[in-house]
């Protein structure tokens, strides 16, 4: 089975099956509300694919993906708010929340976001560029392991706090109440379904990109850096650059996920991008299986689904179940859900041992 999926035909089959489920079965079986939820979860899964690359393959435990997710989300939200304002008040009109905050003039940095093209470019470029800068600053100095994890966590905390202080970005309340998405009414169920398809499409593309990266020479190099960074330097590579690429790609994925998330959920606020949400992203990946390609996707969906299902069932005690779930899966199943198959098969070959040791 695994062998087969490695082949070209296997890859296509895998994608076809995923597409069938996402584009065919899910919309058929789920209510509008559940489909919307699934769309939201798919966004988390997109972030997870990036983390799987940076952490699972590259060994960088990025506890701050909320930052990039948030950047993409806010950039998109800024466009939606300016578009709404323009629709109601003409060019240069001030979004509703600013009026409430006593801001009478559209801040200069908001103006370009009335352009959809600019917005999309910004979503693709800004977070990635920020990740590159930060990555260079950190990886060139060989900050890694738990250091890097703690630092990225502090980044998420600082970023959330910074946003809370920005009244022109909605402060603590964040940005919400979007009416149109590139001209389509968001309240319309048809358009909501469209958004789901967009999210599913983004997920499949992101998985395809990640797959190509993993199978490329770069993918091998990344694993080499993860396992013996110093050694890679002595082969003439700048290990920092290798890491930066994976980190930036993860940031890009997170940003795109955030951008898609905003019209689906209808709000982005600092509460969705701080320390705890960032850990939740990681947990999904860990639970699914950080090192495999689909593990992070499965994990992200499973964690989000479990969170929703448990909290619906046991509104006041679900955190116990959730906490225990994290603890048990991670403690007892280091390879995550993705490893269940191989654990079950128990083939005691050298190969698995080496992988487990890695």
């Amino acid at each position: 089975m695994n062998r087969f999926l490695q082949t070209r035909a296997g890859t296509w089959t895998g994608f076809a099956a995923a597409a069938l489920v996402l584009f065919g079965l899910a919309p058929l079986l789920l209510s509008g509300f559940r489909l919307g939820l699934l769309a939201q979860f798919l966004c988390y899964a997109v972030v997870a694919v990036g983390i799987g690359l940076a952490w699972g393959r590259g060994g960088m435990l990025t506890l701050g993906q909320g930052v990039f997710f948030g950047m993409g989300a806010y950039l998109m939200a800024m466009h939606l708010k300016t578009a709404d304002a323009e629709f109601r008040g003409g060019p240069g009109a001030v979004p509703d929340f600013m009026e409430l905050a006593g801001i009478r003039e559209l801040p200069a940095y908001w103006a370009p976001f009335s352009s959809p093209a600019f917005t999309i470019a910004a979503i693709l470029v800004l977070p990635t560029a920020f990740a590159v800068l930060l990555g260079l600053a950190v990886f060139k100095r060989r900050v890694k392991g738990a250091y890097f994890a703690i630092l990225s966590q502090a980044l998420a905390g600082a970023f959330a706090i910074l946003l809370i202080g920005q009244q022109s970005l909605g402060g603590f309340n964040g940005l919400s109440r979007f009416r149109y998405f590139f001209g389509f009414t968001l309240a319309d169920p048809v358009n909501q379904r469209m958004l789901y398809f967009i999210a599913a499409g983004v997920l499949l593309s992101v998985v395809a990109v990640a797959l190509q990266l993993r199978r490329s020479r770069y993918g091998e190099l990344l694993v080499a850096v993860r396992d013996a960074e110093e050694r890679v330097r002595f082969l003439g590579y700048d290990a920092a650059n290798v890491k930066v690429v994976a980190y930036a790609v993860a940031a890009l994925f997170a940003s795109v996920a955030g951008a898609v998330f905003v019209p689906i959920v209808g709000i982005i606020s600092p509460a969705s991008i701080g320390i705890v949400p960032s850990i939740m992203f990681i947990l999904g990946v860990a639970i699914g299986g950080r090192a495999s390609l689909v593990g992070p996707v499965v994990g992200a969906l499973a964690v989000a689904w479990a969170q929703t299902a448990l909290s619906e069932q046991f509104p006041s005690a679900w955190t116990y179940a959730q906490g225990l779930l994290f603890v048990l899966v991670i403690a007892l199943l280091p390879g995550g859900i993705a490893s269940i198959a191989s654990v079950a098969r128990r083939f005691p070959t050298k190969r698995t041992q080496v992988e487990a040791a890695a």
Binding site: L61, L63, L134, A137, V138, R141, R142, V143, G145, A146, Y147, A149, I150, L151, Q153, A154, L155, G157, A158, F159, I161, L162, I164, G165, A228, E230, R231, I275, I279, I282, L283, A286, A317, T319, Y320, Q322, G323, L324, L325, F326, V327, I330, A331, P334
Partner: protein, 294 residues
Amino acid sequence: MDLLVGQLLTGLSTGSILLLAALGLSLTFGQMGVVNMAHGEFIMAGCYTAYVVQQVVGDAGVSLLIALPIGFLVGGAMGLVLEALLLRRLYHRPLDTLLVTFGVGLVLQQAARDVFGAPAVNVSVPEALRGGVDLLGTTVPRTRLFIMALAVLAVTAVALVLRFTPAGRRIRAVTGNRDLAETAGISSRRVDAATFFIGSGLAGVAGVALTLIGSTSPTTGQSYLVDAFLVVVAGGLGRIKGAVVAAVALGALQAVFETYSTASLAKVGVFVVIVVFLQLRPQGLFTLRTRSLA
């Protein structure tokens, strides 16, 4: 001038709080490499210990004195259980300890909510620690002086033990190389458990002390965690000396930023300073170098 002195004092007092919260971490994270996200909840357990003891004892002064050692035991006991049940399996997977203990933290928080109720509870400050002392033009609350003294005491004790006693050597040996320590006749299990006990116990002590200035609620403790980790990282893993300097520096930075901008921006400022600082000293203030390539 006065302002500067005031800042410094504030920095010291903020720093000593950070230090108290971080001291246990510098053992469990710095020495053992366990990224214990439940450390904040151990601090919280210390807070509630102070509360329970006060309910039983009544007198705030006496109860504080009793609560400090009991808080140590409570925090320590929770640490022991965590170590024995989970962490023992995870020493070779340090980054996973982060995720597991995060889950544990969630559970502990909810448990506190169910046992003590969601709203904050009050731990009274002893009469003797009420009010402030005028020092160099600013008023420093006595509670903060007490915490500074406690921090100095705890840090000195931990540093001395680690540096000069056989137990300290054993801790450093086991955390450096478990197998090798076993072959040196040291029971790494017991040392691991003991180290984690002390580190978690210190969290409990911090919790008791923090009831003097902050609130006692299920989410108390959480708020100290990230800063405490930063202190350990900026100080250099496993370096008590580093943690002291980093805690005071972070406290002072925070105080300075707070005066000249908003408190929110202060957090961001501190983060930026740390990233810049790590450019100069990527392994923290004080580091133990080795020649290994790991």
